[in-house]
Amino acid sequence: MSSVGSVVRRIASDGSTRAALILLVFFLIWAINARNPLESKDITDWLVLALPLAVASIGVTLVIITKQFDLSAAGVITLTSVMMATSFKETNVWIVVILVLAVGALIGLLNGVFVVFAKLPAIAVTLATLIILQGVSLILLVRPGGSVDENLISFVTGSSESSSSAFFPRPALILLVLVVAWLLFKRTKLGIYMYAVGRDEEAVQLSGVSVRKVRLSIFTIAGILYALAGVFLAAAIKSGDATIGESYVLSTFAAIAIGGTAFIGGSGSAIGTIFGALTLMVMPKMLFVIGISGWSARVFTGVLIILAVLAGAVSAMRQGAKLKETTGEIDQTDADQWVERNGH
């Protein structure tokens, strides 16, 4: 087997790598064709806008790994960003952030209760949550406005800092922290159960782990992440807007699809999703510099999402088929390796 062939095959089958490649291509097109050479400010602006999408999409990714769906992300983002811009002006901003995260957790928990205990279809429940939260946001803030605390803005965007932030933009730092948190989370008990529940619910239940508890925890964590995304969004746009969340219904799932997570449960990666979110946010800039804008940019976005979902589905199908064909062989090789390693 040639090494080039295996590398190509690996790239084609691994969603995160695929996403990273798409991101790289888009970014290079943007960087090369931009009228002025890219400055660190351009990069920071891009990352600041991509940050809320990345965080929210990671939340949805977790839910999808457990083989459920969550449409409510856009609603939580809207509500929490509106809350950041309008409510509790006298309170310390960090206390408000904690409060807002608690609101997100509560909404996620409620979604989980409806889905796990009442056994209602997740897609309908979270659609209802989405509509309710959008309505509540509209009641809180009829017209776009409000203001966001300066400390929070400079913390998220790094704008108040001097040249030191020029080398390493603050939002990139936050994304790095998220990547580390994800790598750690994946190895926790909950992280492992999360994948297991998505792959084989019955086996997990039989092994004595409560599938309900796992799903409920994941829905709650997802809610917290959406709320965090709302906080970041408020800092990015520096005000509140009760209609801004609508676009997140599509873009969270688009980021996940481009990030290479198949929508079949049991697989997926937050890192791929971050690449997906970055890709989605660099796309309008990339399309603009090569002269595509307006309606054709929309069509391009839609087509790219469908292609990304298709690629994920096809590679998942192929892997599934391969696994079925060669289950015996795989077991054998695993056993051989084990024997080799342990010297028996």
Binding site: F114, I123, I131, G135, I139, E202, F253, G302
Partner: protein, 366 residues
């Protein structure tokens, strides 16, 4: 003038009371015989009656907020708007019956309305040809979504969401960035409520026609029966030798076709083809399907319940508009109504709070 309005208000109230009385008599007559009692237990019979009477009740409650309710005008508005919700809910209901969710509806509505408006006003096509082309295009988009969803087993809402974006982009491109093109007079005359037969708006007749046609297609036709079988168990449908792939794709084609028809109707109702034409009708349609008792992906659901649920929902909208509460409350209400409908109509009637033995569960399943 004042006296005449007063008499109109009186007569609509009497008419609504007659509706209430007729349904009460129907229920009591049915309850008196064995066959009738069985009929009453069937959700496809009793639910529409409950929903219509709830709608009448809500309309009377509107009196607390507006002296003009109920009136012939308000009933006309309700039935006219119900037409659009019903046409969209028909397609959405079929898609939800087989376990999907169609979020491309606003996109299909925009494309179909734009095609008709641009073709007649800019390219000067005859109206009928524009309508036919718009419907063929809608069906084609449904075919593409349906094929991808069915062939690759991808969750419907993602593909339809992406398809909706593409279609919104295409509609934007077709209008060349100019302001929304106007619809042809014939379509406006049909669906805006200006055209009347015996003083009753044409959309109301079409609404009733949609009710009958929808029942025939969903409950009586081969396609409808196949969709039910596929929804309740795709595996069984396959074993029974049904062309499962074709059934699933066809459901999306019919769904998109319904949205395309709704697009042309809404073009007539609003007068011109704005991009946001379909936005406000998607959620009411989904809500109507769920309130009508369709359980997603279970093959459980009756068109007559969905159809009457559209009347209840538009009544609620009209009454809420009369109360003058801000737009946000409407959204909250929709969400709460969806949750309530899900809880009331769920097939498995208990909250599974007791931890069951997992080993037993698996045994039962197998």
């Amino acid at each position: 003038m004042g006296g005449k309005e007063w008499s109109l208000v009186m007569s609509i109230e009497i008419a609504l009371f007659i509706c209430l009385a007729v349904s009460a008599i129907t229920v009591f007559t049915a309850a008196s015989s064995e066959g009738g009692r069985n009929l009453l237990r069937s959700p496809g019979f009793i639910r529409p009656i409950i929903l219509v009477n709830l709608a009448i009740g809500v309309l009377f409650l509107g009196r607390f907020y507006s002296d003009g309710l109920p009136s012939y005008l308000s009933v006309g508005t309700i039935l006219t708007q119900s037409l659009f919700v019903a046409v969209i809910a028909f397609g959405q209901g079929l898609v939800m019956l087989i376990g999907g969710l169609d979020l491309s509806i606003p996109g299909v509505i925009a494309v179909s309305a734009t095609i008709v408006a641009v073709a007649t006003s800019v390219w000067e096509w005859p109206v009928l040809m524009a309508v036919v082309v718009a419907l063929i295009a809608s069906a084609l988009f449904g075919l593409i979504s349906g094929f991808i969803i069915a062939k690759f087993q991808i969750p419907a809402f993602i593909i339809t969401l992406a398809m909706g974006t593409i279609l919104a982009g295409i509609s934007m491109g077709m209008t060349f960035g100019r302001k929304a093109p106007a619809g042809p007079d014939a379509v406006i005359n049909l669906f805006s409520g200006i055209g009347k037969i015996y003083g009753i708006g044409i959309p109301i007749f079409i609404f009733l026609l949609v009710g009958v046609l929808g029942y025939i297609i969903q409950a009586k036709s081969v396609f409808g029966r196949q969709a039910y079988l596929f929804g309740s168990s795709p595996g069984t449908a396959r074993i029974a030798g049904q062309p499962v792939l074709r059934i699933e794709i066809l459901v999306y084609v019919v769904g998109a076709l319904a949205s395309g028809i709704a697009g042309i109707m809404l073009l007539g109702y609003s007068g011109n083809a704005q991009l946001s034409l379909g936005d406000e009708w998607l959620i009411p349609a989904i809500t109507a399907v769920l309130v009508g008792g369709t359980v997603i992906g279970s093959g459980l659901g009756f068109w007559q319940s969905t159809f009457t649920a559209t009347v209840l929902l538009t009544t609620i909208i009209v009454v809420i508009q009369a109360t003058g509460y801000p737009e946000g409350y409407k959204s909250v209400l929709y969400g709460v109504v969806i949750l309530l409908a899900l809880i009331v109509t769920r097939p498995d009637r208990k909250w599974n709070l007791v931890k069951s033995n997992p080993r037993q569960q698996v045994l039962v399943k197998k």
